[in-house]
């Protein structure tokens, strides 16, 4: 729409609150953590330039590198195990089997329950004495395998990781929305040619959602994996022996000790890891110029 002069003023007035928020809560904070990451500062005395010492300290700190590795594992599990599972369920439910709406609702539950409540629930499930998991193991006669899941070094991190992998509702719903936009004539033609549901999924559905919702989901899941805080905070607080820590939890603890320089440096590393992940995932999905492959698959499926 054309702007007349009096409109221009109104436009700026309308845009101003949102812009102010974006600057105060997004631009300034990002610049802020970068600046503070080069300072030695406890929040009370005057900050002093600390050059790269915060980063050097982080590199030497074993519990930080463990946190970074945990976050990377977390992001990979989310992007490359949880999302593919979600994709399988999206493909299955978008064929609208009996009761699909009910199942879609149920799968989505964990998404609307807070991370804190979920983590508390799972802490109860993993509990050594009266947890549900050990109870289940005893009930099926495998009581010997019962253990303190979150207190044992070998099982703590896998236990923290595994419980949310099967909560696929969010990504499933995103991919289902995408799958419903696929032209049904592809499937009709494939069915006439005798292609099984499985073949249709491999040759039609997956190639067609790969660069859209699948890419989005893998990116989102990985980024979420890098942000993790509440769940570890609530389940283990990083214990035992720091084996379950994450970058944000590490940062939070440094902040509690008023070590703002180090906390900010770890925030900067988190942002960098995030950017690297987003770029790599994009490369991975767009890398081999597979547009023609998609077209060929579709054509093959249609023929």
């Amino acid at each position: 729409m054309k702007l007349i002069r009096s409109d221009r003023k109104a436009l700026y007035a309308f845009m101003a609150p949102a812009l102010a928020v974006m600057i105060l809560f997004f631009v300034i904070p990002v610049i802020y953590v970068i600046v503070v990451s080069f300072l030695k500062w406890n929040g009370i005395s005057a900050p002093a330039l600390n050059n790269l010492k915060n980063y050097a300290l982080l590199m030497k700190d074993k519990s930080f590198s463990r946190s970074v590795i945990n976050n990377i594992i977390w992001a990979l599990v989310a992007g490359f195990i949880q999302v593919p599972l979600a994709m399988v369920m999206a493909i299955i439910l978008s064929r609208k089997p009996k009761g699909w709406k009910f199942f879609r609702t149920v799968y989505f539950f964990p998404q609307v329950i807070s991370g804190i409540a979920l983590a508390t629930l799972w802490r109860a499930i993993y509990n050594a004495e009266h947890g549900m998991l050990n109870g289940l193991l005893r009930a099926i006669g495998a009581g010997a395998a019962a253990k303190d899941w979150l207190g044992t070094i070998q099982t703590a991190f896998p236990a923290v990781l595994i419980y949310w992998v099967f909560y696929v509702g969010y990504y499933m719903v995103i991919m289902m929305a995408d799958i419903t936009t696929i032209d049904t004539s592809y499937y009709e033609a494939a069915t006439i040619d005798g292609a099984t549901d499985f073949q249709q999924a491999i040759y039609i559905t997956i190639p067609l959602i790969k660069k859209t919702s699948l890419l989005t989901c893998v990116t989102l899941a990985s980024v979420m994996g890098l942000r993790q805080f509440e769940q570890v905070y609530m389940l283990t607080n990083g214990q035992p022996a720091n084996t379950t820590s994450t970058i944000v939890l590490y940062m939070y603890k440094k902040m509690q000790n008023a070590n703002y320089g180090i906390a900010s440096a770890s925030a900067v590393i988190l942002i960098i890891v995030g950017v690297v992940f987003i770029v790599c995932i994009r490369k991975l999905f767009e890398g081999r110029g597979d547009k023609p492959v998609v077209a060929k698959n579709v054509r093959r499926a249609v023929k």
């Binding site: 702007l3 953590v33 064929r95 089997p97 099967f166 995408d178 859209t212 805080f229 988190l270």
Partner: protein, 286 residues
Amino acid sequence: MSETRLRPALHGKELVLAVIRWILIIFFAVYTLFPLIWLIISSLKTNFEFLAQSPFSLPSKPQWINYKNALTVAGLGRMLLNSVFVGLSATLVNVIIASMSAYCISRFRFKGREKIFTLFTAGILVPLNALMVPYFVIINKLGLYNTYGGMILLYAAIGIPMSTFLIRGLMDSIPMEVEEAAYIDGCGFYGRFFHILLPLSRTGIVTAATFEFLTCWNEFVFANLIVSSEKLRTIQVGIRYFTNQFSTDYVSMYAAIVISIIPSILGYVLFQEQIIAGMTSGAVKG
């Protein structure tokens, strides 16, 4: 598609696929529901039943007293009210600001529009948890540490990029012609916003509001960061303290968690379409 075709009796590969399909569907449903049902059943036991009997036994008599304990002893009622108040206020502020900016971005071409757009996109992807230090400092500097105002401002602010995207998406789908007629009739900038765009983009605004409220309701990290007083605690921060408060009274703790989950599930079942629309369109565009 397959349901329109007459299916002959399944055999061989097809049968195997159908079986695998239903095993998966049921597995994921049981995996989600079973722990929740276990939590509810446990919350109705006595502590003795919970600790001494099998985790899968049923309570001999449902102990509603646990829920009463959770509401009175832990001050759960107050926390629920805090969450509702902060959530509604933040949502209101958020949606007003976001619909204004969405109107500008959707309807007008102006200098810097592209840059603003990029800024909003980056705002959706930035890991907000990494900004704990600056948020803590900003809220302190504004004199809003330990106030409702601090939480409301922060929640409204961090949801702006997402809400703007959701509302803009709907505004984009409204044809320009609708407005042009009004424009020719002399309807000004504000008139078009209040009388045309706002009513027509109702569904987008409801989606954004639902999404924002749910995010506020479930938010823990910042509520824990910028509030210390017990009186201002939201339900999520409360849950973290239940675990200490009820260190021996497990069943009341489970009752408290169930109470905190009920509004989320109820809200979801009521606003299912909006929440799903919000989460999917936001994600695809973001």
